[in-house]
């Protein structure tokens, strides 16, 4: 394993790869919410990290927010009642991830570059991008990019598909409304 970073080797989506089953309504609710949080929230944080090369303090705050979001997604994929935002950073750093990726708290602290001075003049983001690319590549399906014009059209097509999927499980696609309001 020498020469590889933790970000390039932590297993992603372990539950998907194992084929763990979930009750259908739970599976539909979870994957719709997770897909939305990935394509809307996480992607926006990645854009912040990319745009902030001259603003390391912004990047540092944005990467903490991204880590909170990653932990929230992990809670959902692991079938837990999602913890409030206020606890996500602590949960991730102490207890790690098990749904989105298989990573310890120490490994997360390494990937997110938390050893550097909080609010100092530099911000490590390369390993976050490595993990993000692997999370996108490993995601079951292609996530629309709503931050570009073509992605808006893809998003509408996807939402129509999701409405049908939700109905098939006896759910309402309105289950995404709470997240969209915040976007």
């Amino acid at each position: 394993m020498t020469g590889t970073t933790i970000a390039s080797r932590v297993p992603v989506y372990p539950g998907v790869r194992a084929g763990h089953g979930t009750a259908t309504p739970d599976a539909v609710r979870t994957w719709l919410q997770v897909a939305w949080l990935m394509l809307a929230e996480c992607r926006a944080y990645v854009e912040d990290l990319e745009g902030g090369v001259a603003q390391p303090q912004m990047q540092q705050a944005a990467k903490l927010r991204m880590l909170e979001q990653v932990v929230d997604i992990d809670n959902r994929l692991a079938g837990r009642v999602p913890a409030a935002d206020a606890h996500c950073l602590a949960l991730g750093l102490e207890h790690g991830l098990s749904g989105l990726a298989d990573a310890t708290g120490e490994e997360l602290a390494d990937i997110f570059g938390l050893a550097e001075e909080f609010g100092g003049g530099s911000c490590r983001v390369d390993d976050i991008f490595t993990l993000w690319e692997r999370l996108l590549a490993g995601f079951p399906g292609e996530l629309p990019d709503r931050l570009v014009a073509q992605g808006q059209r893809d998003m509408l097509v996807t939402l129509r598909q999701w409405a049908e999927l939700a109905r098939s499980a006896g759910l309402d696609v309105g289950l995404l409304t709470q997240f969209m309001k915040d976007a």
Binding site: G51, A54, A86, L91
Partner: protein, 366 residues
Amino acid sequence: MDSDDALARLLTVPLRDLVDTRRRSVTDFVSRRGLETGSLQDFLLGRVGDGELLLTSSPVHGLANETSDFDFIRVQESAIDGPRIATKIFDRGHHLEVVSFARGELKRNLDELTALATLPPGDLVDGFRSWDRRFEPRRKQTERIVNGITLDGRVPYLASLPALALVWSRAALHAAVEQVAHLCLAEAAGESRGRVGYAYNVLLHLMDSVLSLHGDVYTTRKWYLLRWARLVRSGAWHDDAYRAAGEAVERLRVSLSAALTAGSSVRLAEDYTALVAAVAAATGVTQDVTVRTALGASASYRGFLPGAELLADGDAGVLVTSRVDEAPVALAALPGVDPNSATSALRAVRAGVATTTVEYRDRSAA
């Protein structure tokens, strides 16, 4: 005249300088993207209809970077029904968003802000947190409007900045108190990195609380740390209490990453609770602050095995091996919380079967 006095007391620079700086930031931002303010205004109003157009967010605060979007708010004279969906416009590589509100509801919100700012901290924070269930524009958008600037360089709602600043500062301090309580629970429960997760947020919320009362109010958390670095660099503290609290924030900020690897031999609880108390005092909170872990209204303990119960409320449940102590604890006493009680309280708040509540008690009544 009154509002000008209140603004002058709040700001760290003369009002005229602040407006000039914002005007320059916005003009630079628009021209760096190869656009011109007059034609941009005509283009947008042509797409979304007539009204008062405000540019908001990072360009106003001089923080915009190459991936920053154009976020506009449009105030129209007639009423609007239903949810407010932002109009997204993609034009020549630019991503522009406009969301519209009615003048009547904006006035109601600004009046609400003024009223909230007169309340004691607990009631003020209740009003702040329930804002989005009660009002359009939502609280973040209300902040954007107060700070917003028209493309011809006017700041029509800046007179509401002092009320906004006080409300936002109290809400941020409240969040810092909650997070320092969680930090103390996590430390008492034996977590080493979890407590650091809370410590990051204590510092960020304290920075936001102090920034707000220096006239720098901006809702988005990703900007707190950069804005803080800017305030520290300027040294423009209102008074010595702020300066001392600011220096204390700086000391803990610089040493925080080391705490992540230091293990549990280095305690954080005492320093962080003292810091929260110092910022509370500097920002003018005169009440005593107490914290308690409150179980949900329908929460109950259900027997499982000797020494373990399921603590459940609604659809959420968590196993605990001792009962949660719901008694209020003074801020300064949080570092002394009992480890068993802390373990249960931490599980209960993370699982959502309990909440951390903050109370402010008048000293004269104590």
